[in-house]
């Protein structure tokens, strides 16, 4: 029975790349060039989980602290993006050339 499951797994892992043309962990994520901005969410979650795990004196309100930090990071990144958009596309073009 285990050998049957093993062969099925090997067959499955060999078939998937042929169907989708994508091998996870070996080649880059196919949709990453379009959806790169969404990566800020797992980035913020990973950072907040590791940071709050070592910084909180007790882990009683751990998930609440993690959620707050994730929201803060995402809002911070959005704020920087809006600020840079305004600076580069609205403020700088209005400045005199000389």
């Amino acid at each position: 029975m285990p050998s049957v499951i093993c062969s099925a797994c090997i067959a499955w892992s060999a078939t998937i790349p042929q169907l989708t043309g994508y091998i996870p962990f070996l080649e880059p994520l196919p949709a990453s060039h379009r959806l790169w901005w969404i990566f800020v969410v797992p980035l913020a979650i990973g950072l907040a989980m590791a940071w709050k795990a070592v910084r909180l004196p007790t882990l009683e309100h751990y998930w609440r602290a993690v959620t707050t930090m994730v929201v803060q990071i995402i809002l911070g990144v959005i704020g920087i993006a809006v600020g840079l958009y305004v600076l580069v596309l609205l403020v700088l073009p209005r400045l005199p050339a000389e």
Binding site: I23, P24, F25, L26, E27, P28, L29, S32, H33, W36, F39, P42, L43, I45, G46, L47, A48, M49, A50, W51, K52, A53, V54, L59, Y62
Partner: protein, 173 residues
């Protein structure tokens, strides 16, 4: 004042945990687990692995490269043996052409005239956003693990901490 001086005394007595720091480098969060803070260690480990595994998923194995991205790798190496395993996997599986295909890269006319051999790169090599984010995720995993290792290095053992907390309470009372 009394509380401050007691806290300073406790800090001065606190031994440094070399073993926990090494365990933390060998696997993220293991330092806290060694010190008896199992839940804290598992949560830190999960956060760091989300970053590292997420980076490998986004950028592929190519985003951990100790030859081409040496400076990035210095930070990634703080994540421990998993970073070295990823770099080894990159060399063995992608750079050798075992997976994907090795294709020649264009060389300039000057290089062609000077007889430079056309370098080959894998078709699995990450480019642009995928490579940038993958490299950044793995780098941040290394930096966060450095913080977790330093925490394990100076953190009192779970049983000692409870004892000392009791002592503090008694003294301040």
């Amino acid at each position: 004042m009394l509380r401050g001086s007691t806290h300073d005394n406790v800090k001065a007595e606190q031994p440094l945990n070399f073993g926990a720091a090494i365990a933390g480098w060998l696997f993220p969060g293991a330092g806290q687990i060694v010190l008896g803070e199992r839940r804290r260690g598992v949560l830190a480990m999960t956060g760091i692995l989300i970053l590292f595994v997420g980076g490998l998923l986004i950028g592929g194995l190519d985003c951990v490269d100790k030859d081409e991205d040496r400076l990035w790798f210095m930070g990634q190496a703080a994540a421990g043996p998993i970073a070295f395993a990823a770099a080894y996997g990159n060399e063995m599986l992608i750079k050798t052409g075992r997976f994907g295909e090795l294709v020649p890269t264009p060389v300039s006319d000057a290089q062609m005239r000077s007889g430079v051999r056309q370098p080959k790169v894998s078709t699995f090599k990450g480019l642009a956003h995928a490579n940038e984010f993958g490299t950044l995720f793995c780098f941040l995993a290394g930096l966060m693990n450095l913080i977790v290792i330093l925490d394990a290095f100076i953190r009192p053992r779970a049983d000692d901490a409870h004892g000392r907390r009791g002592e503090d309470t008694r003294r301040t009372a």
